[in-house]
């Protein structure tokens, strides 16, 4: 088993939380994991990404080689395209369609979506809206994690356990909302 995943987004959108939950699930499955992330200057509203590698064998590089990622999971449409050089030929791109506009020259959204749709394997969903319907826009990242669940080859309960573990200190209500968001994301990819 081997999965190479690029998590993409903008500083503050919560990709590191996704990475932590997957990390929790992976370690409990006795698999190997390497997860490289961006800190420092780039976090102030700039583009951020995390390379997440899961394998039952030893993993050498902390970075995914180009053309090797099985999946790009992005919290924002333009950022999903920034890492295409890493994507395998028939890899999957799963992205939130809600743009994060903090630059004046943000590209035309419909053109972005066209670009994503030109890829053979893609899933586009409105994670913000789904999360909003559940009462918490902030859990859009968990909707996205849910949408990727089937591609991770990890037991779904392990992701749920990860959520309980990570959000446990914030109270039952927050755990509940995030679990719902995860399930809602999952149901989008039937």
């Amino acid at each position: 088993m081997k999965k190479d995943i690029i998590l993409a987004g903008v500083g503050g959108q919560g990709i590191l939380t996704i990475a932590t939950i997957i990390g929790y699930a992976v370690v409990n499955e006795k698999l190997n994991l390497k997860q490289a992330e961006v800190h420092g200057m780039s976090q102030r509203g700039g583009d951020v990404q995390s390379h997440l590698r899961i394998s039952d064998k030893e993993i050498h590089s902390d970075l995914i080689p180009e053309s090797c990622a099985d999946l790009i999971l992005s919290l924002e449409p333009m950022e999903s395209l920034r890492y295409l050089p890493y994507l395998k030929k028939n890899g999957w791109l799963i992205t939130n369609d809600k743009p994060f506009v903090n630059i004046p020259n943000y590209p035309d959204q419909s053109k972005l979506i066209d670009e994503i749709k030109s890829l053979p394997n893609h899933i586009i969903l409105d994670a913000d809206q789904i999360a909003k319907n559940l009462g918490s826009v902030r859990s859009a990242n968990m909707v996205m994690l849910g949408a990727a669940a089937k591609f991770l080859d990890l037991p779904f309960e392990k992701l749920e356990e990860g959520i309980k573990y990570i959000f446990g200190s914030k109270g039952d209500k927050i755990v509940e909302t995030n679990l719902k968001a995860l399930a809602a994301g999952d149901s989008q990819t039937k």
Partner: protein, 540 residues
């Protein structure tokens, strides 16, 4: 046993703790920050009352570590590569004083300059100081090496550098813990003159350091971190240091690398293994993160008959970090066609947070500077450096910690007017205070703006060493009290703040303006930290 999932930085912190650490010293700097942060957040460390406060800068932290070592205890001092320049005076001399209790100098280099002004290679300093170094290739080695470092440090009475780079510092993997060692008891150096570098003593000690170089080399030759892996195809031999080794193996995931490999994780460079690989192989490829340090020492100045490939002949790019693809190209392996980034994708540079106090300060400042034209504001290193970018374009320089004030002083001496410095509170504590003393002594005509957001924000919300003390410090240094002006950078105060800046520009002498408002993330970070200390029953 369940593995701990740790960043490379955190692995160093945990490794040092489990190896009998008594103190962690450092100044926050990406990518090194999480070493001390991890120790600060560790329940056991708090219970054991391990020393874990941030220092004012890297030099003070290095010297504090020397003091703890003098007292016989084991300590770690952490910094980023450019921080080692600040600590260099103490670090270089620490090679002569040596250590009593073990000292680890953990330095995180930033090849590719993800958040730095240059990509200097700290191994050059290790070599310069004639001290051994360790360089982990993965998180497990990052955990294991502090133990080895303390051992070496106490065996030879010298500090040991532990060098990592951004990628490992900020990447997480499973790490297996080892049994915990107890802390050292307090004890003085056996030789009462050990830390006394009067020339007569220093000369003797320097000679000793030179004599012991052979032994350092033997340690390297016998180190478990310098390994030789034989290969059938001797047309090429590969020397891979630190992370370079992983990127190499990544290119041979399902097969064995056909070439002999020398993996280097301990310096000085092991001569025996170098002799072996260079005599066995027709060509040598060198993979090292940072500068061509190993490569240069192998090439020397003379043309060698042996063909050496690396950064100097551009088999590997001269600048920037390694990655699996860079290494693949260097190996001459086939590269698959990749997808391109669509043209529609544009850059998304970082920016000051919405609601950041610096935004308002720059709006106030720009309103005044419209009259004088841009290019008058010397800046420094922190979140506020982002004020260089649109929409503010408020500042013009960023050189090294503290240089805003001193550059303004120099420009004023040239007759430049107005000459303004913008520096953050933490940077001011780090190395702005001495510059301010120069300004006062030289009676410079400068305006120093100390942007006080109550925290070291850029590196992740560490306390600022000058919190609550800035006015007193400025007064103490000799700034006229009526020219120390504080304002709150908020929209509603704009007119008043503009007036203050204008008045101080008009004053011929040293003025300090302190725009003061908390970073919007600072309160949350502080609350979290207090809560943690409370939860863990820590009373540091």
């Amino acid at each position: 046993m369940k593995k701990l999932l740790l960043l490379g930085d955190e692995a160093i912190g945990q490794g040092a703790l489990d190896a009998g650490l008594s103190g962690a010293f450092g100044y926050p700097g990406t990518p090194s920050t999480e070493i001390v942060e991890y120790i600060q957040g560790n329940k056991k460390a708090i219970e054991k009352k391990i020393h874990l406060d941030w220092s004012a800068n890297e030099k003070t932290s290095m010297e504090e570590a020397l003091g703890m070592s003098y007292a016989g205890k084991r300590c770690i001092v952490t910094m980023k590569h450019v921080g080692l320049n600040v600590a260099a005076d103490a670090y270089m001399n620490s090679a002569i004083t040596g250590a009593n209790g073990g000292i680890i100098v953990a330095v995180a280099d930033d090849p590719s300059m993800h958040s730095s002004q240059n990509e200097q290679d700290s191994r050059a300093y290790g070599k310069f100081a004639l001290l051994p170094m360790l360089e982990p290739c993965n998180q497990q080695e990052a955990y294991d090496m502090p133990r080895k470092a303390f051992e070496l440090s106490e065996k030879y009475h010298i500090p040991i550098m532990l060098r990592i780079t951004t990628r490992l510092a900020h990447s997480r993997a499973g790490v297996e813990k080892k049994e915990e060692l107890p802390e050292n008891k307090l004890h003085m150096p056996e030789d009462p003159n050990q830390f006394m570098l009067l020339p007569a003593f220093a000369r003797t000690k320097y000679n000793k350091l030179l004599e012991v170089q052979n032994e350092f080399e033997k340690e390297s030759e016998n180190s478990e971190y310098n390994q030789y892996f034989d290969g059938d195809d001797k047309s090429l031999g590969i020397i891979a240091c630190g992370l370079g080794y992983n990127y190499l193996l990544e290119n041979f995931v399902d097969e064995k690398c056909p070439y002999p490999i020398l993996k280097i994780g301990q310096y000085p460079i092991p001569r025996k293994q170098i002799k072996k690989i260079t005599s066995e192989c027709d060509e040598i490829l060198i993979l090292e993160e940072g500068m061509p340090i190993v490569e240069e020492s192998l090439r020397g100045h003379l043309d060698n008959t042996l063909k050496i490939k690396g950064r100097l002949d551009h088999t590997v790019p001269r600048a920037g970090e390694l990655d699996p693809n860079v290494v693949r190209k260097a190996l001459g392996l086939e590269i698959e066609a990749k997808l391109e980034i669509p043209e529609i994708v544009v850059g998304r540079p970082p920016e000051l947070c919405i609601g950041c106090p610096h935004r308002d300060t720059y709006i106030d400042l720009n309103a005044v500077m419209d009259e004088y034209g841009r290019g008058h504001v010397f800046s420094d290193i922190g979140c506020y450096t982002l004020g260089f970018l649109p929409p503010f374009k408020a500042i013009s320089t960023c050189v090294c910690m503290g240089a805003s004030i001193t550059m303004a002083v120099g420009a004023a001496a040239a007759g430049f007017f107005p000459s303004i410095a913008a520096i953050g509170d933490s940077t001011f504590g780090h190395s702005g205070m001495t510059g301010l003393l120069d300004a006062v002594n030289k009676k410079s005509n400068v305006v120093i703006i100390i942007l006080d957001n109550d925290i070291t924000a850029m590196t992740g919300m560490q306390d600022s060493a000058v919190e609550g003390k800035i006015e007193k410090i400025c007064k103490g240094i000799g700034v006229e009290p009526e020219h120390i002006r504080v304002f709150v950078p908020l929209k509603k105060n704009h007119a008043e703040n503009v007036k203050i800046i204008q008045e101080e520009i008009d004053y011929n002498g040293v003025s300090v303006i302190i725009p003061r408002r908390e970073c919007i993330h600072a309160r949350k970070a502080k609350q979290k930290r207090e809560q943690f200390k409370f939860d863990s029953g820590g009373n540091k």
